[in-house]
């Protein structure tokens, strides 16, 4: 196994140092390691001017395989993940067939291992076929080779209160977490975009903030009642941030239950004004919200109310976006641009430092997913999951260069800061010099 010596990197934006990656772990950290033990014969990577961050962990990725290999495969999706600096992704369950059995989650897990670009941790469906009627075999998925800990019907809300209660209770047996797609279904029938002044003007059916907030409030109360772990997917409104903030304060007082939350990069940057183009490249669920929501989400991420940035990377084939708004699919690509968007919205604005970014994009998602080998600080003995990132360059997003099979990025033509230069998975590079290995 090749040994890598990363020269003059700045860990989390601190003093420059060298890192020696050997045998899958961080073997040494310190100045001038070239002369030190173990560095003989090491491949040197000049990391001058680059940040070293722990490999990123995505709690929310759609890899589309099995079933929609025309949109993405485990192989192409994890290539995109590696290019974005990720060393682990959680693959959502809404595949065809649905990942609601041990067989399907093991298949996805194996495909991830074979591809080798990053670790793939399948998310198990909460209910059979995502139908919201009866629990899937959560225990079998937890005990499988895929070792599932995160369960979600993402794309659909577990709206039945009793079913949600049972799911929260049941996953306690194996320290699982229920990741809820908070969307009250009756309030969002036919919903196309954020409900507000603009939806009324554009004649597009509104997706009101209350449909998200009502479910989050209910689920927090349920999690407290049964003493379990709730994770809230893609929080998108100012009201949701406030509800999670209050719930966390209560959980901290009481103990015995926990709520965590994630925000997507696009909700940190883009607003519903983009729907006025009627270009469904901006159609996503939950929808892009207002500038005031964006501000509240950034503040919530900064103060820790929101634990995690998760991409909700949602590839779709060209024809599913090259049509009228109502006929188009929900979702946008996210893996390759996530770190740049977080830099743009959180770091360059002074809301978060790089240690905070590592917490939100690596440590916290790994903790929620109960991943032992990811999200650890870059200290001696830690798994050598490292991303080298150049925050000083700017680049224009070109969908044609994406490693994903799909091209549905809303950032097309946009200039963003930063670039992933290298990604190491257990000491092996998956990306070097900004290109896939």
């Amino acid at each position: 196994m090749t040994t890598y010596l990363l020269r003059n990197a700045s860990i989390l934006g601190g003093e420059t140092t060298d890192l020696l990656l050997a045998d899958g772990v961080v073997a040494a950290v310190g100045p001038d390691l070239a002369a030190g033990p173990g560095a003989d014969g090491a491949t040197v990577v000049d990391a001058t001017g680059l940040l070293a961050l722990p490999g990123l962990v995505d709690l929310h990725t759609h890899l589309r395989e099995p079933g929609r290999e025309d949109a993405e495969t485990v192989d192409t999706g994890t290539r995109a993940a590696a290019m974005g600096g990720f060393t682990a992704v959680h693959a959502m369950a809404n595949t065809e067939p649905v990942a609601d059995t041990a067989g399907v989650v093991e298949q996805v897990w194996r495909l991830g291992r074979e591809a080798g670009h990053c670790d793939v941790f399948p998310v198990g469906a909460v209910t059979v076929g995502l139908a919201g009627e009866r629990l899937a075999e959560l225990g079998a998925m937890a005990d499988s080779a895929a070792r599932v800990r995160v369960f979600s019907d993402d794309g659909r809300c577990v709206s039945d209160a009793v079913l949600m209660r049972r799911a929260l209770e049941y996953v306690k047996a194996f320290d699982g977490v229920v990741a809820q797609h908070a969307q009250e279904p009756r309030l969002t029938e036919g919903a196309q975009m954020n409900e507000g002044e603009l939806s009324g003007r554009l004649g597009l059916t509104g997706w009101p903030a209350v449909a998200e907030e009502a479910i989050i409030a209910r689920d927090c109360l349920l999690a407290a009642h049964v003493g379990s772990r709730l994770h809230v997917c893609h929080v998108s409104t100012a009201g949701s941030v406030q509800i999670v903030r209050e719930a966390k304060a209560r959980a901290a007082r009481e103990g015995g239950w926990e709520v965590t939350a994630e925000v997507c990069p696009h909700h940190l940057l883009l607003t519903d004004e983009l729907a006025a183009t009627y270009d469904p490249i901006y159609k996503v669920n939950p929808p892009l919200r207002t500038a005031a929501d964006v501000e509240a989400l950034r503040a919530g991420l900064a103060d820790g109310t929101i634990d995690v940035v998760a991409t909700d990377h949602a590839p779709h084939p060209h024809e599913d976006k090259d049509c009228e708004w109502a006929a188009a699919a929900f979702g946008m690509l996210g893996l390759e641009t996530a770190l740049s968007i977080v830099q743009e919205t959180m770091v360059d604005t002074g809301l978060l430092d790089w240690a905070g970014v590592a917490e939100r994009m690596s440590a916290a998602p790994a903790r929620i997913g109960r991943l032992a080998e990811h999200g650890q600080p870059l200290t001696v003995g830690a798994p050598a999951n490292v991303v080298l990132y150049d925050p000083a360059v700017r680049r224009v997003v070109d969908p044609a260069t994406s490693a994903s099979l799909s091209r549905n990025t809303p950032y097309r033509g946009m200039e963003l800061p930063g670039r992933v230069v290298a990604t190491f998975l257990r000491g092996t590079p998956t990306v070097l010099d900004g290109a896939l290995v």
């Binding site: 059916t205 009627y278 049509c323």
Partner: protein, 326 residues
């Protein structure tokens, strides 16, 4: 004028008045024995209708034919669209056939906008009604009708005139386009609906709103009744059709509270007995049939102005004099 007519918001006051002036000239054609002009000879207009709409399609068809354009009618039912062909492929097909203008009616809000801006077609796009978004030519024909009855003697706009638009504003593309256009022309618009049928954010529209029809009628110069679609009646937006009629329907008693000069309008098709009673629809105040006649003239004006590329000024008459051969 812009190359497309997608929204009433695309029209400046000058644009709108140009269309209305042109329509006034063209309307006089209807009184001539030969109702045809050579203005668009050799041009092709495609009526692309993804939703049933006999009256709007016929109106556009008559308008295009009276300008001597070739007309292709493409109705989604019984066509390749029902076999799953996309809007894009349909558009590309029509483009390949050499359409100069595409008149599109679609159930999805923004579909004409997509046609015009996605690079699929080069032709002019006219929105003939998209989802619950807009129906700009309906607003133009309504404005034309209002101007004929209420407009200033100098043929100008509708400054200070009060227009009440009553009914299912939430789902109405007619209401949206009229709210924009009538305000552009100087009228004061009041939207009247039960709160459940008022759009979210209507407070930021350039209109007044009211839940009380009886309070609005005595001040109105015109009242425009909107159809309540059958599928909304059981949608929980109001308790029963009877209650809706009692609170928001226009009957003889309510009509009697209107000012003497006030007119009653309806974009059709009407649900008699629901939002409007038969005696009101057939009364002398009703200009509903005239709206249809005006619709052809207004659509002729729109097609002419979009396709001829002419910057029609007031002193360049479009019509030949009465004695000249038409």
């Amino acid at each position: 004028m812009k190359r497309h007519l997608l929204s009433a918001a695309d029209l400046t006051r000058d644009d709108a008045e140009l269309v209305l002036r042109t329509a006034a000239e063209l309307r006089s054609l209807a009184d001539r024995p030969i109702k045809k002009l050579p203005a668009l000879r050799g041009r092709t207009v495609v009526n692309l209708f993804f939703e049933d709409s006999t009256r709007t399609r016929i109106s556009f068809e008559a308008a295009a034919k009276r300008l001597s354009a070739d007309v292709i009618n493409f109705a989604a039912k019984g066509s390749s669209v029902s076999k799953g062909e996309s809007l894009k492929d349909t558009a590309l097909t029509l483009e390949a056939m050499g359409a100069d203008a595409v008149v599109v009616r679609h159930g999805a809000s923004g579909a004409p906008h997509r046609l015009a801006h996605s690079g699929w077609v080069r032709s002019s796009v006219v929105n003939a009604g998209d989802g619950t978004h807009e129906h700009p030519t309906q607003a133009l024909l309504d404005a034309f009708t209002l101007t004929r009855h209420l407009g200033a003697a100098d043929g100008g706009g509708l400054d200070g005139r009060r227009v009440a638009i009553v009914g299912d504003v939430l789902h109405s593309r007619v209401a949206r386009s009229n709210a924009l256009l009538l305000q552009t022309l100087g009228a004061e618009v009041t939207l009247v609906a039960p709160p459940t049928l008022m759009p979210v954010g209507v407070g930021s529209w350039p209109v007044e709103t009211s839940y009380d029809l009886d309070a609005v009628l005595p001040k109105a110069d015109a009242v425009m009744m909107l159809r309540v679609q059958r599928e909304r009646m059981s949608g929980g937006f109001f308790p029963t059709p009877r209650e809706y009629s009692r609170r928001y329907g226009l009957d003889g008693r309510r009509m009697a509270t209107l000012q003497d000069h006030a007119i009653v309008m309806h974009p059709g098709p009407m649900v008699r007995g629901m939002e409007i009673t038969a005696d009101v629809a057939d009364s002398p105040r009703s200009v509903i049939v005239e709206q249809v006649t005006n619709g052809v003239a207004v659509r002729m004006a729109v097609l002419y102005l979009l396709l001829s590329g002419a910057d029609l000024s007031a002193d360049a008459p479009l019509l030949p004099t009465e004695s000249a051969p038409a």
